[in-house]
């Protein structure tokens, strides 16, 4: 079983904070459509980018 690296843990924590921490989503989605879209699309892109980063870090990437 692989041990989790510090980077893997931080990726999880950062994404959880962005998606769940109320002050962040309440700040962005407060009535301005451009700001709200920046939050929803931006947080989604950060998570998709995080997945790409995790893939590039994997020791046996691609192998199944």
């Amino acid at each position: 079983m692989r041990d989790r690296s510090a980077t893997e843990r931080w990726i999880l924590i950062v994404n959880l904070i962005i998606m769940l921490f109320p002050p962040i989503h309440l700040f962005f989605a407060g009535g301005s459509m451009p700001m709200a879209l920046v939050y929803f699309f931006g947080s989604g892109l950060v998570l998709v980018g995080s997945m790409a980063m995790l893939r590039s870090m994997g020791p046996q990437r691609g192998e199944e």
Partner: protein
């Protein structure tokens, strides 16, 4: 003529899916083959199976309707769905490894093995089976909308529910016979249609809306705001629905079993890498189209019909293709739910003390058939009462998430015991269901927390307290240490 186009395309869709399933059919009474398809699928099949189970037909109806009626809050499905994919990456190693090492086939099997307890296994199976049932009925009702729209006025919404029931009853023959292999293969075809074609249609709808003066500038200011301080729902409402959705993701038995059908842990990780961008693209496009359409008077009057109302602007062929997208998404979800119900009830409830592969497979097939019949009866009885059923289905969601503390803490922490897990699940489930009936949307006195989150808090407190107060015996501690090694 339009009727022929609509129903003809439905027929073509079923013929193609069934042909592909039959071509890949393997006759067997082996329960591992029936329940997890021999752990043989690569990452593309895994990805599409996950998407087709995770995004049901109602994503085009109720979720699109939320974006069309309330704005950006409808995007919450993107947040919790992507978190579910991220969790898939982190769960892959341990769940796949334990699953393969102990020949586990279901989620209840998994927690039962972790806690070395039939009580945990049966409790988890009962919560799972009970929570999945309302969603099967809702799936049948979603199909009704497809058959109604694609008849172009020949079939009323009430009659369409009966048509969809008849079609599903025929389609379930292949689910009962082919088991998980048939489901995963059909998920590939259905997923490409539902989310590939559905995504392309959404791009067309967005272009059409922007060119006909239904842009972001026409949206109400309230569409850009989440419930905050001073609102009826409360500032913690959005946090609650995303948290419940994300933690609940791997509590659904039909979703969890996706971790067991893969060839390897790396396959599961690879499918997470593929699912994240596909899911994000499809949901962002489809929900944006639905939100932009809110300025159309017919959509404002019936937001849940937004997908069909948009497609109707493209003529009968586009409307039929849009209906097939909903049909494809719904079929994948209903198949997964009925299959998971059969496998869980057979293996983790009726044969919890053991049985031959042949006996368990036979019981699972019978239960899939009985579940389908019960769901059909449920759908007929509730043909005009979807609102009450939706409340029950949402209550079921608040209930299913109560598996989360036992599941996730059991994976991360060696100390939780069987009695702590069972007590936590029961307390959390009861608290969540009672609060759900008292406060169906959110609890204002708690800042907008939902019943499921309050249940989760109680559940976790009970699990941790019982674990610390009544530590496991040394033989159990050694067993768990070996499991984590």
């Amino acid at each position: 003529m339009n009727f022929v186009i609509g129903y003809g395309m439905i027929l073509l869709f079923f013929v193609v899916v069934i042909y592909i399933m039959e071509r890949n059919h393997r006759e067997t009474d082996n329960f591992e083959e029936f329940s997890v398809a021999g752990r043989s699928f690569g990452s593309w099949f895994q990805t599409m199976a996950f998407l087709n189970t995770w995004l049901p037909g109602t994503i085009f109806i109720a979720f699109a309707g939320l974006a069309a009626s309330a704005g950006v809050i409808g995007y919450y499905v993107i947040s919790y769905s992507l978190l579910a994919v991220l969790f898939m990456y982190y769960l892959a190693d341990r769940v796949f490894d334990w699953g393969k090492r102990h020949n586990l086939k279901t989620q209840s099997d998994f927690v039962g093995m972790r806690y070395n307890s039939d009580a945990v296994r049966v409790t988890a199976a009962i919560i799972g089976v009970v929570s999945m049932f309302p969603w099967i009925i809702l799936g049948l009702q979603s199909l009704g909308l497809v058959f109604s729209y694609l008849s172009f006025g020949y079939v009323s919404p009430e009659q369409a529910v009966f048509v969809s029931i008849a079609v599903l009853a025929i389609r379930q023959y292949w689910t009962v016979r082919l088991g998980m292999r048939g489901i995963v293969i059909s998920d590939m075809v259905q997923g490409i249609i539902a989310y590939g074609v559905g995504g392309l249609l959404s791009i067309g709808f967005i272009v059409m809306l922007l060119r006909s003066e239904h842009g972001f500038g026409q949206l109400a200011e309230s569409f850009a705001a989440l419930p905050s301080f001073g609102s009826d729902l409360g500032p913690l409402y959005y946090f609650s629905i995303v948290l419940t959705g994300a933690l609940g993701s791997w509590c659904w038995p039909d979703i969890f079993v996706r971790l067991f059908t893969a060839k390897s842990a790396q396959t599961v990780r690879n499918s997470a890498f593929k699912a994240a961008p596909l899911m994000f693209l499809f949901l962002a496009l489809m929900l944006t189209a639905a939100m932009l359409a809110s300025s159309m008077p017919e959509v404002a009057a019936a937001p849940d019909n937004v997908w069909f109302l948009l497609a109707s602007h493209g003529g009968p062929v586009i409307l039929s293709i849009a209906g097939i997208c909903v049909l494809a998404a719904t079929m994948g979800n209903i198949n997964a739910l009925t299959q998971a119900t059969g496998v869980h009830a057979a293996q983790d409830i009726f044969h919890v003390k053991g049985g031959t592969d042949r006996q368990i497979t036979r019981t699972a097939r019978i239960i899939v058939g009985i579940t389908t019949i019960l769901a059909i009866i449920g759908a007929i009885m509730t043909v005009n009462t979807t609102a009450g059923l939706l409340t029950l289905a949402l209550a079921a969601y608040q209930g299913i998430v109560q598996l989360a503390p036992s599941l996730y803490l059991g994976l991360l922490w060696k100390r939780p015991t069987a009695s702590a897990a069972v007590l936590g699940m029961i307390v959390g489930f009861v608290v969540a269901v009672v609060l759900q009936f008292l406060y169906p949307v959110s609890i204002p006195a708690l800042g907008g927390l939902t019943s499921g989150v309050v249940g989760l808090i109680c559940n976790t407190v009970v699990l941790v307290a019982v674990t610390l107060l009544t530590p496991a015996k040394s033989i159990e501690t050694q067993r768990v240490a070996a499991l984590f090694a």
